[in-house]
Subunit: 339 residues, 2 copies
């Protein structure tokens, strides 16, 4: 059996209160007793029972983390950095994968609360704003999704996908492109897909181009979708000049590039493409993919820092939102070439 504080107290010949005091360091204890107690703890291989402490102080030192798919390195990285800062402050992460299911997400939140987490980090939630906004006994920070108005103890940390989209547009336009194609993601389900599109579109329009200069194709964020949609598009494509394609996820962009190649066209000579996400492999495909780098580390680190501060300081998360910048990673897939 694991040694308890009582065992230590007995062995050291003191009261449990004194032992507790050396553990928590909240009260002065004489050096001699500290010495004696420390020795006793070592001898008994004592380690404080966090569960008992949690019950007493009404804090679990655990935060619940929800991700849509832990298999996705984007979320993996968020988790990694969330864990880093949590551990540094002696908190632990309990992780749940919602499998992109809204029901699971709801259930997870409930069991998190039941399990006494001190706070919740919800990454790329599927739940709607209204539901997210319901009263809850613990603070929550929402990651990778635009903020909404709230009076609750909720904060937001997300990358500015609108800005990301417009960076792409700027890049294309600065290089002199005149005709644009957008492979947009699942705009209705994923708020960020919409933001990316809007950022791109509005920038282009702002620069004096018209709707007829930018074509739009919708598909989901997969390799296959990128491939198929692009291929279909190229079936009856009349090329007049170098086209600039904004494909709003790298993996989709990869598929699109394959399609372009399979159709006998070249990237970037015939069609320049810029992706989004800067996944690991975007640096290795041909041509190396110009893309937008997401601030994943900061997404993970800042969200949990915010949450922890709120937990410790008891200050409200309300109205707190941090928007992170993305940056363009210039590689070869978007080179402007004479046509």
């Amino acid at each position: 059996m694991r040694a308890t504080i009582k065992d230590v107290a007995k062995l050291a010949g003191v009261s449990t209160a004194t032992v507790s005091n050396v553990i928590t360091r909240k009260k002065y204890v004489s050096p001699e007793l500290i010495e004696k107690i420390t020795k006793a703890m070592k001898e008994l291989d004592y380690t404080t029972n966090t569960i008992a402490r949690s019950l007493k102080v009404n804090r679990s030192f655990r935060i619940g983390l929800i991700v849509p798919d832990i298999t996705n390195p984007f979320f993996g990285e968020i988790v990694k950095y969330a864990e880093k800062v949590a551990n540094k402050e002696n908190y632990h992460i309990t992780l749940c994968d919602s499998d992109q299911s809204i029901e699971k997400e709801r259930k997870i939140i409930n069991t998190f609360i039941e399990n006494g987490v001190d706070g919740i980090i919800n990454v790329a939630p599927r739940m709607k704003d209204r539901e997210l906004n319901k009263k809850r006994p613990v603070p929550m920070v929402i990651v990778d999704r635009p903020a909404f108005e709230t009076e609750k103890d909720i904060a937001f940390v997300f990358a500015d996908n609108y800005e990301g989209g417009s960076r792409v547009a700027k890049r294309f336009i600065d290089q002199g492109f005149k005709k644009f194609l957008c492979l947009v993601g699942p705009v209705d389900i994923v708020p960020n897909a919409k933001k990316r599109l809007m950022g791109f579109q509005e920038y282009v329009l702002d620069q004096g181009f018209t709707d007829s200069d930018v074509e739009m194709l919708q598909c989901d964020f997969s390799f296959e979708a990128g491939y198929e949609v692009m291929k279909k598009y190229l079936m009856n494509y009349q090329q007049e000049e170098q086209l600039a394609a904004f494909v709003s996820s790298d993996i989709m962009a990869w598929g699109a590039i394959e399609a372009i190649t399979d159709m006998g066209l070249r990237v970037p000579k015939d069609i320049a493409v810029i992706g989004y996400d800067n996944i690991f492999f975007s640096n290795f495909i041909h041509p190396r993919l110009t893309t937008i780098d997401n601030p994943t580390k900061q997404l993970g680190a800042m969200s949990t820092q915010l949450l922890l501060d709120a937990i410790e300081g008891k200050e409200s998360l309300k109205g707190n939102y941090v928007v992170l910048n993305s940056k363009l990673v210039e590689r070869q897939s978007d080179e402007r070439l004479p046509f």
Copy 2:
């Protein structure tokens, strides 16, 4: 404040014991009382305090999961399936990323115990057998690493990497290849890298080939390493026939293929290659990569099932190990062509 069992008891006009009995369902309670109590719980929005229960029953219903790098989809998938089975049995996963650091791994195990997890799943541990084998108050299952002799409460679940390696060899030989090249991984650090190599090597030798028929190059599991090592090798390479290269990780294989292409040779015409891991992208590179598929889902699911059974049934994990089979995924990179 969250409602307690007392509040419910008072509102329903019963004792806390009765409320507890309807929660745990371990004793008969009359239908009328159940009804009344259920209503009271609902009214108070009662949810049982897991921490208090844990303290009482000396079980946390949490299991600690250690992975070397949550950013790696291979581990991500293990985590995903571990979590699925854990949740199904009302357990939760607390996740820690060891960052491939042996010190962190040690520390994590300690804090897991301190935090009262009911069991530990250690994926691809860096710690040595001897240390892993030390006495611990909770059961542990070790995933993705060969078993060792033990008297402790430890089980193993891992893929048979030796078999995987020999499958590759068999495939090459069945197709008629005569000359072999191995890009082996970090054999000294990663036991599975060694197994892969041994499986390959011994099969080849078994078939009557000699050491001079198989060349060996060592490097770590990265794209860059695969590229560099292969490129260097090709610098003074005298081609006599179609070479069969076993590159023991897909990402390394990708790098190697790039190098081959950059050096003006073709895959598989000049050099056939088979990778290992079946990462998502191996299906999309050119040529599509023949590789070994790891049983990641089972790795995750079976290990936690085993652990949970041990926790619930109090039966020992001792001597329990399950070895999973890998399978060859046949694609185009290893085609045998007339030279």
